[in-house]
């Protein structure tokens, strides 16, 4: 009897586990199907396209090997656009983090109307990119833009000139607009991180005679290190692939000075109809972003159990 019970027990456990696994699998199926259909398939299809001469005009396409990649790296303008992507991403992210941290430090202190101030500071984040783009183009119009007028009156700009029509300044304008629009996200994350730093560490530093600058340098910043890394990686991914603002403000001009890889991908797809070529550029951008994602996963602790 005892031995019979002992023999049956493992079968019961196995059956339960199997059922449990099946139920788990059933719950995972929709997500798996979604990921296969909307993530894996598009990525694999893009890889395939990058080795073809697919075009939006031609109905047929053929395998061209690495031709698209060779074409990309032999295009003299590609290096310029790649460099633009780095400048745009680096300065945008740097600006967002510095401004976000600076404002977070200001609002982290208890103050009257702090909640209202924090809400007010979030406004840029909810301004639609199209609104920001239209207003920016308007205020920087060479003939009637208020910003252009001030700069012209101050002698900083030639008469009837606009910053958006000048190669060097145009990139800085879009970077500043992007920083203005995007700083609230780092600000909120930094604000939350600052709140979580143990007050006793500051008290100990004060007792030890550390001034505000030293406290910031040796306590606050190190405590924010992980937050900064995660924020930086996330913002790099979002900024490097962010397309709307530049497209609407400068369209990538003048003379390609604000064209970065996402704009180039759009141009290759809908300006030149070369889908295969555009897919190859996407692959290059994708590989770069994938590197960032691996770094992010490694640093954010997602690999931990």
């Amino acid at each position: 009897m005892t031995s019979g019970t002992m023999l049956k027990r493992p079968r019961l456990i196995t059956s339960y586990e199997r059922r449990h696994k099946l139920i788990g699998l059933a719950f995972a199926i929709p997500v798996m199907v979604f990921l296969l259909a909307f993530v894996l398939y598009p990525v694999l299809y893009n890889v395939y396209l990058s080795f073809t001469n697919a075009s939006l005009i031609k109905k047929t396409s053929s395998f061209v090997g690495f031709d698209n990649y060779v074409k990309i790296f032999s295009n003299k303008l590609f290096l310029k656009y790649f460099w633009n992507t780095i400048r745009w991403t680096f300065f945008s992210v740097l600006g967002q983090l510095v401004l976000g941290l600076g404002i977070a430090l200001l609002i982290a202190r208890p103050m009257k109307g702090g909640t209202a101030l924090r809400s007010f500071l979030l406004i840029p984040y909810v301004v639609p990119a199209v609104t920001l783009a239209l207003v920016s183009k308007w205020i920087m119009n060479s003939d009637y833009g208020i910003v252009s007028y001030w700069l012209q009156q101050a002698g900083l700009l030639e008469a009837r000139q606009s910053l958006l029509a000048m190669q060097g300044p145009a990139m800085w304008v879009v970077v500043i607009l992007n920083v203005w629009r995007s700083y609230p996200f780092p600000m909120l994350i930094y604000w939350a991180a600052l709140k979580s730093i143990d007050k006793q560490i500051y008290e100990a530093a004060t007792v030890d005679g550390a001034g505000k600058w030293k406290t910031f340098l040796h306590i606050t910043l190190p405590q924010l290190k992980n937050t900064t890394i995660v924020l930086a990686v996330l913002r790099i991914i979002w900024t490097a692939t962010y397309y709307d603002l530049i497209f609407m403000v400068t369209g990538g001009g003048p003379s390609g000075s604000t064209t970065h890889l996402p704009i180039l991908i759009y141009q290759a797809s809908f300006g030149s109809y070369q889908i295969g070529y555009a897919a190859a550029i996407s692959m290059i951008l994708g590989v770069l972003m994938f590197g960032c994602i691996i770094f992010y996963v490694a640093k954010s602790g997602l690999t931990e159990d």
């Binding site: 109905k59 303008l77 008469a159 009837r160 606009s162 003048p254 109809y273």
Partner: protein
């Protein structure tokens, strides 16, 4: 039992996942494997459809129509006419506005998926794109039924494909001229220039603190190409050979560089610095509303701007053709809108599309459509021309209307890339940004004129080679 259930489940789930992936892949697979019969079948149906078919019962049918005309006045007239004709034929219509700046993106997606509208009211570039994508059918039968002689022959030839068939039903046309301030010309004792040197000299004379002699707008997409091409045609430089239809810009390097040199010189000597990124609205506003430029190239919409925003300016504006280098221009730059129809699956729908289009071509309707456009779009359907001219809207501009109509009908005019009829090159020129990159760079000193030419030529050659 349970094991077999598990197996069954696994098989079902695998099947489900495979079907999901295949379902997503299906359109692409169909696209790449489009059988020849499928591509030709609707065309056969189109040719089989009699121009004067016996009345067919179209009840229950629906037509999807796209238009690039998003301005209220134009859209209202079009949608009103579509609704009238739909009622006459007992069908339903769904009209969608497609903004010009997003047209190629939407057309590309539509052509790629095969989900093109039944009828589209679009410009030459859009027509060329859909023709190259093999998405539209010839409309010779429709044109013949309306009366082939009633359409401008120049217009019909620009919409003719390589097979000699006409793929667009001409609606209205426009002609690029230099629009200028007559009052300023008079005040400065200037006469209409007949050479490039005279034009430059006039522009420099008109320059003052608050006024630029000639706006050279060079916005990245479309505008820069239009500005260059207006100058190119006047010098007899083309992208495709008007006689053979072959790409010829590579053979005209020397002359093309001269044109770019002139454009750059005109920009530096007479155009506002900020015009490097000016689009249509900017330069039209500067000429017709704020009065801060004295001349610019345009198709006549400046008059509409003046009428709407600065009526005092209307009488001060006039137009002349961009001169040739040393005399009469070799050709000029013209444009227009037409109706195109996608290939239909069966004879009934083909007949419906044909009947729908024919019904739009009464003199009154054609004139009404042309008049809904800001000046000066004139009807390419000749019976509508007298109604058009008698309209209050153009009553004060008989001289300009006759000049433009004459230039269009009796002069030599081209739309870029379509010097010898429909060509995908046209749509490419209109949507690529290489003109902006090269010409803006030439004007701000990044590139020499030769480098700018090489960039444009290499890009166009690359497209031509890929076709």
């Amino acid at each position: 039992m349970k094991r077999s259930m598990t197996k069954m489940m696994a098989i079902l789930l695998t099947l489900l996942m495979t079907l999901s992936v295949v379902a997503c892949a299906a359109p692409a697979a169909q696209e790449s494997a489009a059988p020849a019969e499928e591509a030709t079948a609707p065309e056969t149906a189109a040719t089989q459809a009699p121009a004067e078919a016996t009345p067919v019962d179209y009840s229950g049918q629906k037509l999807v129509i796209w238009t690039n005309l998003t301005a209220d006045a134009q859209y209202e007239v079009l949608s009103k006419q579509f609704a009238e004709v739909a009622k006459e034929l007992g069908v339903e219509v769904e009209v969608e506005k497609v903004a010009f700046n997003e047209m190629y993106g939407k057309l590309a997606a539509a052509a790629s998926s095969g989900d093109v509208p039944d009828i589209m009211h679009t410009n030459f570039g859009g027509t060329a794109y859909l023709y190259a994508a093999d998405s539209i059918m010839p409309l010779d039968d429709v044109i013949n039924a309306i009366g082939a002689d009633d359409f401008s022959s120049a217009y019909k030839s620009v919409l003719t494909g390589k097979d000699g068939k006409i793929y667009g039903l001409p609606d209205w046309a426009m002609h690029t001229s230099v629009w200028y301030r007559k009052d300023l010309y008079e005040a400065n004792g200037l006469s209409v220039p007949t050479t490039w040197a005279e034009l430059l000299s006039n522009a420099e004379t008109l320059n003052s603190t608050d006024l630029s002699g000639f706006a050279v707008p060079l916005d990245g997409v479309q505008v820069s190409a239009q500005t260059l091409y207006a100058m190119m045609t006047s010098a007899g430089v083309y992208f495709t050979d008007p006689a053979t239809g072959e790409y010829c810009f590579d053979k005209e390097k020397e002359d093309a560089i001269k044109v770019i040199d002139y454009l750059v010189e005109l920009y530096h000597k007479a155009s506002p610095a900020g015009s490097l990124t000016w689009s249509w609205g900017d330069y039209r506003n500067a000429l017709a509303v704020t009065g801060t430029v004295a001349m610019t190239l345009d198709m006549g919409a400046v008059i509409g701007n003046a009428q709407g925003n600065n009526p005092d300016m209307v009488d001060k504006l006039g137009c002349f053709d961009f001169p040739g280098i040393d005399g009469k221009a070799k050709a000029s730059f013209g444009s227009g809108y037409c109706f195109v129809a996608s290939k239909q699956d069966d004879g009934v729908r083909t007949a419906l599309v044909a009947d729908f289009l024919k019904a739009l071509y009464t003199p009154e309707r054609a004139a009404e459509r042309a008049l809904s456009r800001p000046m000066f779009a004139f009807p390419s359907y000749k019976p509508a021309y007298e109604i058009y001219k008698a309209s209050d809207k153009v009553a004060d501009f008989q001289e300009q209307v006759d000049f433009i109509f004459n230039s269009f009908e009796n002069g030599t005019w081209y739309w870029y890339g379509m010097e010898a009829g429909l060509s995908a090159m046209s749509a490419y020129i209109e949507s690529t940004n290489i003109f902006g990159v090269a010409l803006q760079g030439a004007c701000d000193g990044t590139y020499t004129s030769e480098e700018a030419y090489n960039m444009i030529n290499d890009d166009l050659l690359s497209f031509a080679g890929a076709m």
